[in-house]
């Protein structure tokens, strides 16, 4: 290879890494700010608002949870997330099974309808749902919020699971039919055991969505003790505005669960989000 060519390849590589590094730095900027600020005292922060902490402390992180509210909010978010994701995943699997694997004339229409529903802005649904909830005394209850989240999640989760069930080789189902298995037996013993990764994908994407949801939580959970983390954070922010490190510590605690889930299940995140985006 002539030297100029090698030099060209070398400088191209430098430019490439420089561009990627620059974008990665921008992508991580808020995380960096949260992390470094949360390790500073307010006194240090006032003199050093962006640099690395010179005397890292754990006290800010501990103080931010000392009031106990963050625990309550995180717990509330966990309750709402776990129940709605479980319910939605079970119902979606049940519905996706006949759409994907049975001869069913209405199946494709139902699927088409679900795909259209995936783009409806939630604000539009919230107005009438709020009226129903108010009329039936279901405001400020978890069951109302879980039911709404489940309904909002179902088009996406059913669609994703339908696509996945379609990739299961039909020969396996036929073999089970030969052995005299009924439809429920086939679902339990053939379809579900093969669907581990798909279910993991659906669960991760839904959990991320519910955990981060703000509008429905703001409208339907107006009592302090019921607030989810995302509403709590806006309250937390206005309360501690003069102590930025404590606010950032709160934000960091709120981010950690999803960040850990991402680090563990990156594969599922990426698969689920791209599947929902490309064809959803």
């Amino acid at each position: 290879m002539p030297p100029t060519r090698r030099l060209g390849a070398w400088s191209a590589s430098v430019v490439r890494h420089a561009a990627l590094l620059a974008f990665a730095a921008i992508a991580l900027l808020p995380l960096y700010f949260m992390l470094t600020s949360a390790l500073k005292t307010n006194d240090e922060f006032l003199g050093n608002t962006f640099g690395l902490p010179e005397h890292p402390v754990a006290s800010t992180l501990l103080n931010s949870v000392a009031g106990g509210e963050l625990y309550v909010w995180i717990l509330n978010s966990l309750i709402v997330t776990v129940f709605s994701v479980m319910l939605s995943t079970v119902l979606a699997a049940l519905a996706a099974y006949p759409i994907a694997m049975m001869k069913w004339r209405s199946g494709p229409y139902i699927l088409g309808g679900l795909i259209a529903l995936m783009v409806i802005p939630p604000i539009v649904l919230v107005i009438p749902l709020f009226q129903i909830a108010a009329a039936t005394g279901q405001l400020n209850t978890y069951q109302a919020v879980v039911a709404i989240y489940t309904g909002v999640l179902l088009p996406f989760s059913t669609f994703l699971l339908t696509n996945f069930f379609r990739t299961i080789p039909y020969a396996l189902v036929e073999a089970a039919l030969m052995d005299g298995a009924g439809s429920w037996r086939i679902f339990r013993s053939v379809v579900l055991p093969l669907s581990g990764p798909a279910l993991a994908t659906v669960v991760t994407v839904q959990a991320l969505w519910v955990w981060n949801e703000l509008l429905i939580a703001v409208v339907f959970l107006q009592k302090d003790s019921l607030r989810t983390l995302m509403i709590g954070l806006t309250v937390f922010n206005s309360r501690y505005r003069i102590d930025v490190p404590v606010v950032m510590a709160g934000m960091l605690w709120a981010t950690l669960p999803m960040l850990l889930l991402y680090l563990v299940g990156q594969r599922y995140f990426i698969r689920g989000l791209t599947a929902g985006g490309v064809k959803g």
């Binding site: 409806i120 107005i127 981010t255």
Partner: protein, 294 residues
Amino acid sequence: MNRAERWLPWIYSLPMVGFVGLVFAYPMLSLLKFSVEHVGRSAYLPTRFVGLGNFRFIFGDSLFLGAIGNNLKLFLCVPVLLVLSVLLAQLLHDRPRGWKVYRALLFVPYILSIPVVGVVFGYLFQYQGQINGGLRALGLDALAADWLGDPALAMPTIMAVIVWKELGFGIILCLARLSSVGEQYFEAARVDGANWFQVLRHVTVPQLAPTLAFYAVVEMINMLSWVFSYIYVMTRGGPQNSTVVAEFYIYQQVFQNNQIGVGAAASLVLLALVGVLLAARQRLEARFDHYAAD
């Protein structure tokens, strides 16, 4: 096929259909009714039929027109997202050392929650904040501004945050598509002496066309349907109503002004806009189906 078998699919899907009916179908029908009513709050303020009055009101309301205008401004994020996604996907597709780490890092904004992102950027973009601090350190004092406090700048600043957050999604989509394109296309172009930009222009972009079309429509739908949280956390529609979007307008009318009919009418207009985009997406899907499937 016997009777029981014919009903079997319905039995499996019934719970899903029930929930979806409750959360989507019933509310959308109620909206039609609300949109032609002045919805009362009690027996003393009964509900009145007002015909198209609510629609006349919103189309004469500069706040509503401004809100739709802001949603259209948000569409300007889409070309920026497309260009950056293609560039970064190509950079990653060149498989430089550590590309998987870069990919993981570039995706991080997409998993952070909007409230967290909004609060953190709220501080960074303050007049005495770190962004201006950085500009001053670089000697660019003239560029320092009150990013979220100036009515002329608040919307562009929010757009920058949205691009920041949504970019990872586009990169991953494009990268997934590029990985399924045969390496021989890129190789052939390089053998023919094409430089990096020529490969990008003549191989990558054409190969990505279906993906980009989908991504563009998906993001446009996002810009109409899913931006409430950014506004709620960063500006609450201010300063001087300069960042009110359709979703936020509806929220204010219904939950602050108690104007349910007006909110319902605005909702139907928003739904109509989303419907147009949805139809566009269905057409694209039909057109590209044979090679977009992976």
